[in-house]
């Protein structure tokens, strides 16, 4: 009889660590007709291949967005051909063109009306930063001042191929999400704001001029003199 303490019994239903399955083993199983997956993979796979955009055109880029949904470029190959006129049925807000200060409250309101999970693509120079019209007194210098943007597509306007590339990048981003933890998408995190404050078209500028929760002015770093 030894007086050494007995190790605590490990819970049978929860092994200490799951044996990792390699991609080669999974491919081998798939070859035998066995599909092995996790809830997370199933969730992100379904999410990423049925991204329905909102039928919402702002300016020049909207024409290229329509062109991307037509026969030559055929956005249907990526599961996004269903352009929904109502924000309640849409997953993706493509901000396709210049957002003016008069239009910005409506864009934020549309974003608030979309159900989670939802994504935003800033298409074109104007939606990213104001683009060629940045000097204008009525032009918002980037929609990311009010709503979180997932993918930025540069160009004036971006070609339809660029929009498709942006969509594929978004799908890759969605596939990288986990259901729990810090990599979880925005709507599964407790700190998610849910509603984004809608700015008002004030006398001089939008009030507030940006949403501090999603955007802050970049700090200027001056190079030290040598």
């Amino acid at each position: 009889m030894s007086d050494a303490p007995t190790p605590p019994p490990s819970p049978a239903h929860q092994p200490a660590s799951l044996p990792a399955i390699t991609d080669a083993e999974r491919a081998e199983l798939r070859r035998h007709g066995i599909l092995l997956t996790s809830l997370q993979e199933l969730y992100t796979w379904g999410n990423s291949h049925s991204v329905w955009p909102l039928n919402f055109g702002l300016a020049c880029c909207a024409i290229e967005m329509i062109a991307a949904s037509m026969a030559k470029f055929d956005i249907a190959r990526f599961g996004s051909e269903v352009f929904r006129p109502s924000p309640r049925q849409a997953d993706l807000l493509i901000v396709s063109g210049t957002v003016t200060k008069k239009m910005a409250p409506q864009v934020v309101r549309l974003w608030n009306q979309m159900p989670e999970p939802k994504y935003c693509i800033a298409m074109g120079a104007c939606a990213i930063s104001g683009g060629p019209f940045k000097q204008g007194y009525n032009v918002l210098k980037g929609i990311d001042r009010f709503i979180p943007v997932d993918i930025y597509i540069p160009g004036c306007p971006p070609r339809p191929e660029a929009l498709l590339h942006g969509l594929v990048q978004l799908q890759e981003k969605i596939k990288g999400f986990t259901i729990k933890g810090p990599d979880a998408p925005r709507h599964l995190q407790k700190a998610d704001a849910g509603e984004y404050p809608v700015p008002e078209f004030g006398a001089r500028d939008l009030e507030p001029p940006h949403n501090p929760a999603v955007w802050s002015a970049p700090t200027l770093v001056r190079a030290e003199k040598s």
Binding site: A59, A67, M70, P85, K102, G136
Partner: protein, 386 residues
């Protein structure tokens, strides 16, 4: 609600109807509405299904085009004109180039004039084809006509891209000529496209023009009288659909248009169907112009050798240049004080002025008709709000 309206057996339907009869409903269509071709907003007051008042709200795409035009150089405004009416960049470029050339007294070589005519007529084909597709989308033919239209649009855009480097925003015209000389291969490709375009129009018209549903939907809808159209300053296919023979290509005879044989199609009723028909017939005439221009394309320089691009400062004065764009008279008014920037830069946007008669066309129509009436005006918000 009057409690007498509720009878013991339930609501008295006739009494409720009488009590609310004549009550008006205000509907805000836009700025996000699939039918408004962008961010246009209409506040429509309805009596039942009929429109009794329509108030347009502009400015959702006001990008300060004219103010920016005063802060950049003359040539610097050329890319901005692309973004006015973003379906027809080439004609915007041409109208602006004509205004500056008038201001500076700059001649244009013959080859460039021919190339400008070719590009303007290609733009007209592009614009009218897309408009017909969008109009049919508004009528409820979801998909097919727009798919056909965009298929042809891509072919024209390929030509624009191979010539200017960009699909939509061509930035091609310069003061005193064009930026790039078209190669013989480009001219051949254009000839092939023009040769095939008639067959496409036959296919398109077989689908739409004699279609009973479209005729029932569009004939007699949104009638605009010739007198009102003239008084409101309406131009382009909308004016010609009312039966007024007015085409700047004939009356101004700018460029080399007097050398070509073509007719100006006119409508008779001024309704949505006539506006569609005038545009289709205009495309047929554009094909005739293109065939003649491609056959007679002369050699020589594409730019005037004495044209000055850098340090361009026209003498003090003012000029108004206009052409017949696909949507109507597009004009640029410039005032110079001898500096590198215009002192005043003003655009005459055809679709904005055509839009001013929207309420007159919509009164008494149903709300579903307002959608196709707006579609037949052919607006592009970049130009309406500037």
């Amino acid at each position: 609600m009057n409690p007498e309206l509720l009878t013991p057996g339930g609501a008295n339907v006739r009494a409720v109807h009488d009590a609310f009869h004549g009550d008006l409903l205000e509907v805000s269509m836009g700025p996000h509405h699939p039918s408004t071709h962008g961010v246009f907003r209409m506040i429509v007051t309805l009596d039942g299904e009929r429109i009794v008042k329509l108030k347009p709200v502009f400015g959702y795409l006001h990008r300060n085009h004219e103010k920016l035009g005063e802060t950049v150089s003359y040539l610097g405004s050329m890319p901005y004109t692309d973004r006015l009416d973003y379906l027809s960049a080439m004609t915007n470029n041409w109208a602006y180039a004509i205004a500056v050339e008038k201001l500076a007294g700059q001649p244009v070589p013959e080859r460039a004039e021919y190339v400008r005519v070719i590009l303007a007529e290609l733009t007209r084909l592009l614009n009218h084809t897309c408009l017909a597709g969008f109009l049919m989308q508004d009528c409820g033919c979801s998909g097919t006509p727009l798919m056909y239209a965009f298929r042809e649009r891509e072919k024209i855009l390929d030509l624009f891209e191979s010539l200017s480097g960009s699909r939509m925003m061509c930035n091609y015209q310069r003061f005193g000529g064009c930026r790039v000389d078209p190669t013989p291969a480009w001219v051949d490709a254009t000839r092939t496209l023009v040769g095939n375009y008639g067959a496409f129009l036959d296919e398109f018209e077989a689908l739409l023009t004699g279609n009973e549903i479209i005729m029932a939907r569009t004939q007699g809808v949104g009638v605009l009288s010739a007198a009102l159209a003239i008084n409101a300053g309406v131009t382009g296919p909308m004016l010609r659909a009312t039966g007024v023979a007015s085409d700047l290509r004939k009356s101004d005879a700018y460029g080399v248009y007097p050398r070509f044989q073509f007719r100006v199609p006119l409508g008779a009723h001024g309704d949505v169907y006539d506006r569609y028909m005038v545009r289709v017939l205009e495309m047929r005439e554009s094909i005739r112009i293109l065939e003649q221009a491609l056959a007679g394309l002369p050699g020589g320089p594409i730019m005037d050798p004495k044209a000055k691009l850098r340090g361009f400062r026209p003498k003090a004065g003012e000029a108004y240049g206009r052409i017949e764009g696909p949507k109507g008279e597009i004009g640029f008014y410039l005032v110079s004080d001898g500096g590198p920037n215009p002192l005043r830069y003003r655009v005459r946007p055809p679709s904005f002025i055509n839009l001013t008669v929207l309420e007159d066309m919509c009164l008494g129509q149903t709300v579903a008709d307002a959608v196709i009436i707006l579609g037949s005006v052919d607006i592009v918000l970049g130009e309406v709000d500037r």
